[in-house]
């Protein structure tokens, strides 16, 4: 009796985990289908599919950072800087493509290492460290590009041109990263340690496991994912030094809508992906019904707050019964 009922309750739990988010997404799609003409068209979905890969990849890294009870405000700037390095080396220095990409990824990794290193070595709050990195990387971007947009000519066309079963390479890559990251979180030793850092860092340390290594790895990963996203972003928008401004807040919003706690210790990459979809569907749908920027922002803000409130009740339901004395 015990085993099968445990299995059923686990399945129910999984379903409950994803069902809420999926339902919210479907609700949005139905609403926009009603109020916008031609919302259900290939164009709409292609627009959405084109817009989500870079933010999805960044939001995956952000999910991990939030799970270890940190925050990474520098993602937008790291994206701009690694994109700039990619553009400048490829177009102005005529480096071969693999070398440029290696440089781009290296820059992202280095920024992440710096973030994580400062957080770990001096025990600084990641909010402050990454706020600094937000400025540092942005400034470096302007230096690298001489404050001008570097046009990519045809160097990165392969990123956007090819498709796999009708899906663009960036889209497929983003989905692959989401799935892989969720597997890492759910099934690996590293995933366990991330949750442990966010739940009770002291207890982890006293269990003989170094929380510093885990934190460092997570910040490096976040930086590296920014660089991966920058390849996609640069292919589509050129190496503009203003790329990715405000992206950090969008990524955090997506993660939080997906129910990951800012206090750390719990989160889900799949739900983060739903969070990205909700934000992008909302954005595209509102644009289609002709909403202006102020309205768009107002509604997006309301959705974020509503999502967090819903999440609060969802967790209260799951938390009871309370402990006893």
């Amino acid at each position: 009796m015990n085993k099968s009922s445990a299995l059923v309750s686990r399945l129910m739990g999984l379903l409950a985990d994803y069902f809420g988010m999926a339902a919210a997404l479907v609700l949005l799609l139905v609403i926009f289908g009603r109020i916008a003409d031609n919302f259900y068209s290939l164009d709409t979905f292609r627009t959405i599919a084109d817009q989500i890969p870079d933010i999805t990849i960044i939001a995956v890294g952000m999910t991990f950072v939030l799970i270890i009870a940190g925050i990474d405000l520098s993602v937008g700037s790291i994206l701009a800087l690694s994109g700039a390095v990619l553009g400048v080396t490829l177009v102005q220095y005529n480096w071969p493509l693999p070398l440029s990409i290696a440089a781009c990824l290296g820059v992202g990794l280095l920024c992440g290492l710096l973030n994580g290193g400062l957080v770990v070595a001096w025990g600084l709050p990641s909010f402050i460290v990454t706020l600094g990195m937000l400025e540092i990387a942005r400034g470096a971007t302007y230096l690298v590009t001489n404050s001008r947009t570097v046009y990519m000519s045809s160097g990165l066309d392969w990123v956007t041109d090819y498709t796999v079963f009708g899906f663009s390479i960036p889209f497929v890559l983003a989905i692959a990263i989401v799935v892989l990251a969720q597997l890492v979180l759910s099934f690996t030793v590293f995933g366990r340690y991330m949750i442990a850092v966010g739940t009770n860092e002291q207890a982890l340390r006293l269990s003989g496991i170094s929380p510093s290594r885990v934190k460092l790895a997570v910040f490096i990963l976040s930086g590296l994912l920014c660089a991966v996203a920058s390849i996609i972003h640069t292919a589509r928008y050129q190496a503009n030094p203003n790329n990715g401004q405000g992206l950090e807040l969008q990524a955090i919003a997506a993660v939080v809508i997906g129910g990951t706690s800012l206090m750390g210790g719990r989160g889900s990459v799949i739900n983060t992906f739903f969070g990205v979809l909700i934000i992008k569907v909302l954005e595209t749908g509102l644009a289609q019904v002709g909403a202006q920027e102020p309205t768009k922002r107002l509604i997006t803000g309301l959705v974020i707050v509503a999502a967090v409130i819903l999440d609060y009740y969802r967790h209260r339901l799951r938390r009871s019964p309370a402990g006893r004395g």
Binding site: R10, T199, L206, G208, I209, S210, G323, R324, G325
Partner: protein
């Protein structure tokens, strides 16, 4: 004493459940003015739940309470406090970043134009504090900088400072030294003589026999009996609490002849560990006695690499090369385990499952290429849940929902899985019920029998003398004496524990 006082509070047929767990099933309790009423029972028996219902923290599912002839149904803690009922909780309720005085008078800070009047605040705090013997602590000391025992006294001082008619103390002596406990008992006596009713929850039977007038025994949420304490013996109480007899308390008096597992040479760490030299052998249980704040926990943390070592050397496993332990990670890799005093903050991941908590320190043993094999993990954890008889609804139950004794067993399971050669237990029996305590003792003996080296820190001399092969005594950070079984004398050990405090002030001791 006065056991015929007038009835202050009467609770009848109290039921309470948390989800599927029935915490109380039809419990009655009568509190009389001018008496101390002890509530005893194993963890999870419902003592805390019952008192929290009286204190307005929980609402009962059914049943009624009458306070001085009037129906009483507090809707919250505030309302109960208004009616003169106060509870000092087992979990400390203090704000670490505020001072002692601010904590004691948090809800009634004296102020003028919104500014706190510190002189008057500190003055009244000083008075309250000296009543519980906290003269040595400054009222403006920050609570976070104090030890657990002192914090507990601050909490009790805060409870006694208010006007109240019913005072509920939940495990007040769990982290107090004998001296502090005696001061508390004197306070309780005074409160009783002034006509208050005191509900006293404790696992320490000797204390209850000493101070309680009446005793109510609970088992699994049901009332076993209420009677006057006079004429009762500890054995009788324990038997009706547990519903069975206890195993004999004596460890087979074997002398340890194993090789040296851990050797300390003039170890200094921070202000509280001063030139400690001792050795611990395989197959031995070495007790570490001392007053609260004598540096026992600090010594354990220094050995474990949790706090830095200032000077001195640690040798491991009989090697003559100094061991390099700079973090708990180093320590664990070299076979040292530390079961911390504060298991909720430092030992457990409360919202996480039993499975998660047990397997965490040694995930690599149930995983391959970094991927955890859940099947093997469950199997291994299941074995520990069985062999330690951890009472739970399943491996997936969050540890935060377990009783104290079962939480402690989860901590033990986690370190057994890690299979270290040297195990340091820091107050492993604090706040857990008698049955679980004996299971811990048996476990310590088993570990020693299997050749492990066990360092057992405890404030309970009786358990140290019953379980340990040798007992070392720390006093103000120094090792003052070591005793070998069976030549124990509580008198001598206590004297050794006070030794560094009895020297003339100012004269530095060697």
């Amino acid at each position: 004493m006065t056991d015929t006082g007038s009835i202050l509070l009467e609770a009848r047929g109290i039921f309470k459940s948390f989800g599927a767990v029935q915490a109380l099933s039809g419990v009655d309790l009568v509190l009389r003015a001018g008496t101390v009423h002890a509530l005893v029972g194993e963890n999870g028996a419902g003592k805390s739940t019952l008192s929290k219902i009286i204190a307005g923290v929980h609402l009962s599912d059914s049943g009624r309470m009458i306070l001085e002839g009037k129906p009483f149904q507090p809707s919250g803690r505030r309302q109960a406090e208004h009616a003169g009922i106060r509870m000092v909780m087992q979990e400390l309720n203090l704000i670490d970043t505020l001072s002692v005085a601010e904590n004691i008078f948090l809800d009634q800070l004296p102020s003028k134009y919104g500014f706190v009047r510190y002189p008057s605040l500190n003055h009244s705090a000083q008075q309250v504090m000296s009543r519980v013997g906290l003269d040595s602590v400054s009222p403006s000391a920050i609570v976070g900088s104090l030890g657990v025992g002192t914090r507990q006294m601050v909490e009790i001082a805060a409870g006694l400072s208010r006007h109240c008619r019913i005072l509920i103390l939940d495990e007040p002596t769990a982290s107090l030294t004998d001296r502090e406990a005696n001061l508390l008992f004197r306070q309780i006596d005074q409160a009783r003589n002034s006509g208050m009713a005191i509900v006293y929850i404790s696992h320490r039977i000797e204390e209850i026999l000493r101070i309680a007038d009446e005793i109510t025994i609970l088992r699994d949420g049901r009332l076993v009996s209420t009677q006057t304490t006079q004429g009762l013996t500890a054995e009788q109480i324990i038997r009706s609490m547990v519903g069975r007899d206890l195993p004999p308390r004596q460890r087979a008096g074997k002398t340890a002849g194993g090789t040296i597992a851990l050797q300390l040479d003039r170890l200094c760490a921070g202000p509280k560990v001063r030139k400690v030299s001792l050795d611990l052998r395989r197959g031995e249980i070495l007790g570490l006695a001392g007053l609260m704040g004598s540096g026992r926990t600090e010594l354990a943390r220094a050995i474990f690499g949790a706090d830095p070592i200032d000077s001195g050397t640690i040798y491991l496993h009989g090697s003559d090369k100094p061991a390099r332990i700079r973090s708990p990670r180093d320590a664990v890799r070299q076979g040292i385990a530390l079961l911390t005093e504060d298991r909720k903050q430092q030992g457990l991941f409360l919202p996480r499952s039993i499975r998660y908590n047990i397997s965490l320190p040694r995930l690599e043993s149930v995983s391959r290429a970094g991927i955890v094999n859940r099947f093997r993990e469950r199997k291994v954890c299941d074995e520990f849940v069985q062999s330690l008889s951890i009472r739970c609804s399943g491996l997936e139950q969050p540890v935060g929902q377990l009783s104290g004794g079962n939480q402690q067993k989860v901590v033990i399971a986690k370190w057994l899985l890690r299979d270290c050669e040297i195990l340091i237990f820091d107050e492993p029996t604090r706040g857990i019920d008698v049955g679980a305590k004996f299971e811990v003792y048996r476990l310590l003996s088993d570990l020693a029998a299997r050749g492990k080296a066990v360092l057992f820190i405890s404030s309970d001399l009786k358990e140290l003398t019953a379980v340990c092969d040798r007992i070392a005594v720390l006093s103000a950070g120094r090792l003052t004496a070591t005793f070998t079984a069976p030549h124990y004398s509580e008198q001598a050990i206590t004297e050794a524990a006070f030794q560094e405090h009895l020297r003339p002030a100012g004269g530095p001791s060697k």
